[in-house]
Symmetry: C2
Subunit: 633 residues, 2 copies
């Protein structure tokens, strides 16, 4: 292995820029020199052994650098990050440089063996793992302290010397991808494998889930339409619809796990070993010895963190929840006022006015969700979690609880306190549709319009009439560095999660919700695709094997929806009429049915295997081989 | 590695017998010769490289063989099975022969580095992995077919040539263990580490769980006593007791996971890699290619198995459940008859007669459970599962469902159909106490008495007055080979599971159940210890990291008990009196409380980490080290 590192040529003729590094204006010369030297330095000397070139524009050098790597370097990097690729015998195996010949499509001159997203991921990994040796500080910046083993890039980022690192778009590939993805109106699947090659597994998995979820909603939507069209109000039909919905939602979540396993097996991430998690960039503390690694690094007492969580964050979240409920009560006052107004002067205008409170409330909910999001991010960051995963879990928990209450509290109140099914239906429809329109607009269309305007201005400045693919490298870099940053799939999943809530929590009252969800998701696929390709900087690929905590969130929602739907059905006058003598029997029957449904749900989740049989066999085969290899040693 | 195998001396002067092999009387000479040759043969020739000696008694050679191994052979075997031992730096690591010097208490002349149970486990593993090479059949038995890779010992067992293999007791050690375990009456913990050294992890973990469970029941028992003594019938006290019980049962099950992790980390099994599972002995099918291993071995279509499960086993289980309910109805007829009798001639005798139906029913339940057990074993074996674990899971599921219904159906019927709390209390007490007495008797005391009688007869035959520790080897082997075989911890866990049901399902009606459970478990520890040490053959040690499916079973029971207790409290006249106006409000309140309790349960299970923090850090440290080692390669 050591030999392969040594015969790497530090300068290669065909330099292909992959990643852009933007340093702050006025960064000291000695810092730049030290940093670039560390990037190109040999592995044995503690460098990253990558290639780096300054970007030269008409205005001269602008502290923007392009990073690339030789083909061999990338292959060795693929081994370091533990990429899993397909072999000639169609099995998936962890790539190693020594066994490279056994992999499908491998040839020493095939520079497409690794996708561009993979190359960029490797470079990001190598840059982040560039660690301080004996430096006590960043040269030229005495206040930016270093200690042995500290990631240099992370310190540069937190001290503001490094503005950003982002991967370059590949204009050719992007054009092809856009065309096959959303360029033409067609009915069919998204090119998930191409998306994965270009954007990486996390984003491809999101689009896979979005597509799957849309397809899964279609049966609900199809069954829901006649309820609206023929205004069916029969008891048995509603019960059938709700029962179908509840079981269906369990089935689709279980089947998704299987589809996810198929996708990530094909992409290799199902087999990828988990890397050891380094502290997240914002983590700080006094220097101490990490009990796990034995290295000197900042440590922060877990008790202090717990105190911050339970004494500050938890009360703050509760306060926000209370505030959200308070706003809800104002909404009901407004609603009452609109109703009074409508009854006093009955006109077309006044009946339209009936919808105004809901719409205002929907807008307020969206605004509150966004403000709370910032507060939650600030608080979670202040809690000073050591690992990114722990930070993410705490953030997601905070945001989910608040958004759930904020979006659904009014519906729960209408349903179970006011018992007003008409208002529930109207409120549900207004909230669902308004939030969908707002989201699509705020998330994709508005940024797209901004971006387009900016691009036009840029091009005018450059006095060029070239199309995107003809741009020079420096023009491309300058354009892309001003684009917004995509902060991950969190908001996208959250939107789907809330939509799932609107569809399933009160499905027996408003069967049309699934129809709106399907329509929204179809346009969502297009607007999200547009957003990824045109509005934001290219994000770094992130390998992942599943949708993580969202699976749990969706499953929890489907459990809650069993409870709400059972109560709703129990409250309907049709069901009421079936038990004329005893309300007791009614409630007991509903409770019994609810428990039965929950039991069936859990049994189904238990019985349906999480991975299809052929994937299970392939995994068992790999495990068997590694055990055999261990025995041979 | 290969070198270390070659310098093994096949015959060593200090032969220590560890395992006994009993062949059938009249086994052909050529078979014995071939089998013993394979056992002593070099690893390189496909042998097990163990030592074997025939047992010579006064009656000559009796087809009983003693197997041992050299010290070096055992150390190499420890590496093969992947034993985890404590290092000099107090960390737990997988033992390898090359790194032997880094392990605590290791010395080339220390023959106690491996416990006797570990040595026996290694020998069992090596014997079971003795595989056919080119033999088409067992020499001398053309009907006992072999194919390359088939385990020879398993074929010998299934064709009846091999009667049994069992590990020898160590009379000295056993005496010491008995003394510290149950020899003197004392209040304190069991010597779990010594039990683990002598009997292995599975059995030690059972006794650990039994002890933990008994301690965990004490708070319930302590709180339960005043309810009985002062005949408290206040509503609030019952609610408090039930609520405490429900949350307590969640806490104890979660805390057990942590204690289990502490124990198995110390014993090394928490870190042990799972071995590849070979087909179970009884598995049969036509020869084919296993898709996982690529080896030729019997394959059996999964569809056929599914058909057997769903078309035969499932209907059979349903029929048994129906039969159990039928027997229950007969019991209620008897109960009615006893009541009538009591009312007609009121006397002491007739009031005693009131208990007779329950006692008869309890005995019948036990008998039915035992008969059903055989049927379930037969059916599950007929389903022809490939893996022992899959066989066990199907067997446990079958047995649990039936035993649950069989034991608790009558109680559910009394509680929720007859609404007779007095009968419920009486029936519960009778069932619990009768089943405990029956179990202790049938499981330990009766076999112990049989064994003792047999031993006395044996000794009389041998005309010797020696104590157990003075017996000659041949006498010891002859005595032990006639002892019963311990078939694993299944029945012991099942007993605890049903006991947990009696205690928790109706805890708010009969708080005294926990007291009986504690008393029973204290004697259970002693009688089970007696059973292990005196009644049964020594079982082979089985490494395990947790109590497996039983954790899930206990957790399911505690969820069900939330439901039953909430209903029971809701039905009590005291609670009834709190809602004089509306039964509706009562039922809704009960349902709300139930859902809240369930939610709290799930959140608690989620929040309490499954492993204590220091074990988590130790595991992370090992993972980090292996990742670092991989990088260095």
């Amino acid at each position: 292995m050591m030999e392969s590192w040594s015969f790497l040529d530090p300068v290669e003729s065909n330099f292909r820029p992959l990643v852009v590094i933007e340093l702050a204006k006025g960064t000291k010369e000695e810092t730049i020199e030290w940093f670039t030297k560390r990037i190109v330095d040999k592995k044995a000397n503690g460098g990253a052994q990558l290639l780096i070139k300054p970007l030269v524009t008409e205005n001269g050098v602008e502290n923007i650098y392009l990073v690339g790597a030789s083909h061999l370097r990338l292959l060795l990097g693929a081994e370091t990050v533990g990429l899993v690729k397909e072999c000639n015998d169609n099995s998936m195996r962890t790539f190693t440089y020594s066994s490279r010949k056994t992999f499908k499509h491998f040839a020493d001159d095939n520079h497409n063996f690794l996708t561009m997203a993979e190359c960029q991921y490797i470079i990001k990994h190598e840059l982040e793992n560039l660690r301080a040796k004996n430096e006590k500080m960043i040269p030229g910046y005495p206040q930016a302290k270093l200690y042995p083993g500290k990631s240099i890039v992370r310190r540069l980022l937190t001290s503001g010397i490094l503005v950003q690192i982002f991967p370059l778009h590949d204009r050719e590939e992007l054009k092809k991808l856009c065309h096959s993805w959303y360029g033409r109106v067609k009915i069919g699947y998204q090119p998930l494998d191409d998306i994965r090659c270009y954007f990486g597994e996390t984003i491809a998995l999101y689009f896979g889930f979005l597509e799957y979820f849309t397809f899964a909603l279609i049966p609900m939507a199809v069954i829901g339409i006649p309820y609206y069209m023929f205004a069916w109000e029969d008891y048995d039909k509603y019960v059938m619809f709700a029962t179908f919905n509840l079981l269906w939602s369990t089935v689709i979540l279980e089947v998704w796990k299987r589809i996810c396993a198929i996708l990530t097996y094909r992409w290799g991430t199902l087999l990828m070993k988990r890397q050891f998690e380094e502290p997240r960039p914002g983590f700080h503390g006094v220097l101490g010895i990490n009990p796990v690694t034995g290295r000197e690094e900042p440590v922060y007492s877990s008790i202090k963190r717990q105190l911050r969580i339970y004494l500050v964050s938890l009360p703050f979240v509760c306060l926000c929840l209370y505030f959200s409920l308070y706003v809800m009560m104002i909404y009901f006052d407004l609603e009452q006022w609109a109703l009074d107004y409508h009854q006093e002067n009955e006109s077309n205008f006044s009946s339209l006015m009936l919808y105004v409170p809901s719409i205002i409330y929907a807008v307020v909910i969206e605004i509150m969700n966004r403000i709370y999001r910032y507060a939650a991010e600030f608080l979670t960051s202040w809690e000073n979690h050591r690992l990114e995963s722990s930070y993410q879990n705490h953030l997601i928990l905070k945001v989910l609880v608040f958004n759930f209450l904020n979006c659904f509290a009014s519906l729960f109140y209408i349903a179970f306190v006011l018992f007003d099914m008409k208002l529930l239906r109207q409120s549900l429809a207004t909230l669902l549709i308004t939030s969908q329109i707002l989201n699509q607009f705020a998330e994709s269309l508005f940024p797209y319009w901004l971006q387009k305007r900016y691009n036009r201005r840029m091009k005018k400045q450059m006095c060029s009439k070239k199309t995107d693919t003809d741009l020079s490298l420096s023009e491309q870099v300058n354009m892309e560095k001003e684009m917004g940053t995509y902060f991950g799939t969190f908001d996208d999943y959250l939107e789907l999660f809330l939509q799932f809530g609107y569809v399933s929590l009160f499905s027996c009252v408003y069967p049309l919700a699934a129809v709106f969800a399907v329509l929204n998701n179809i346009t969502e696929i297009y607007s999200d695709a547009l957003k990824m390709c045109r509005v934001y900087k290219r994000p770094f690929a992130e390998p992942t094997a599943n949708i993580g905590v969202w699976q749990l969130a969706f499953e929890t929602m489907s459990v809650i929806s069993v409870v709400t739907n059972c109560i709703l059905i129990g409250m309907s006058p049709e069901v009421d009429a079936l038990f004329p003598d005893s309300k007791m029997d009614l409630v007991l029957t509903v409770a019994l049915v609810e428990h039965l449904l929950l039991a069936i749900k859990f049994i189904m989740a238990f019985v349906i295997p999480d991975k299809p049989r052929d994937i299970q066999i392939k995994l068992a085969k790999l495990e068997f081989e590694s055990l055999e290899a261990l025995k041979q040693q």
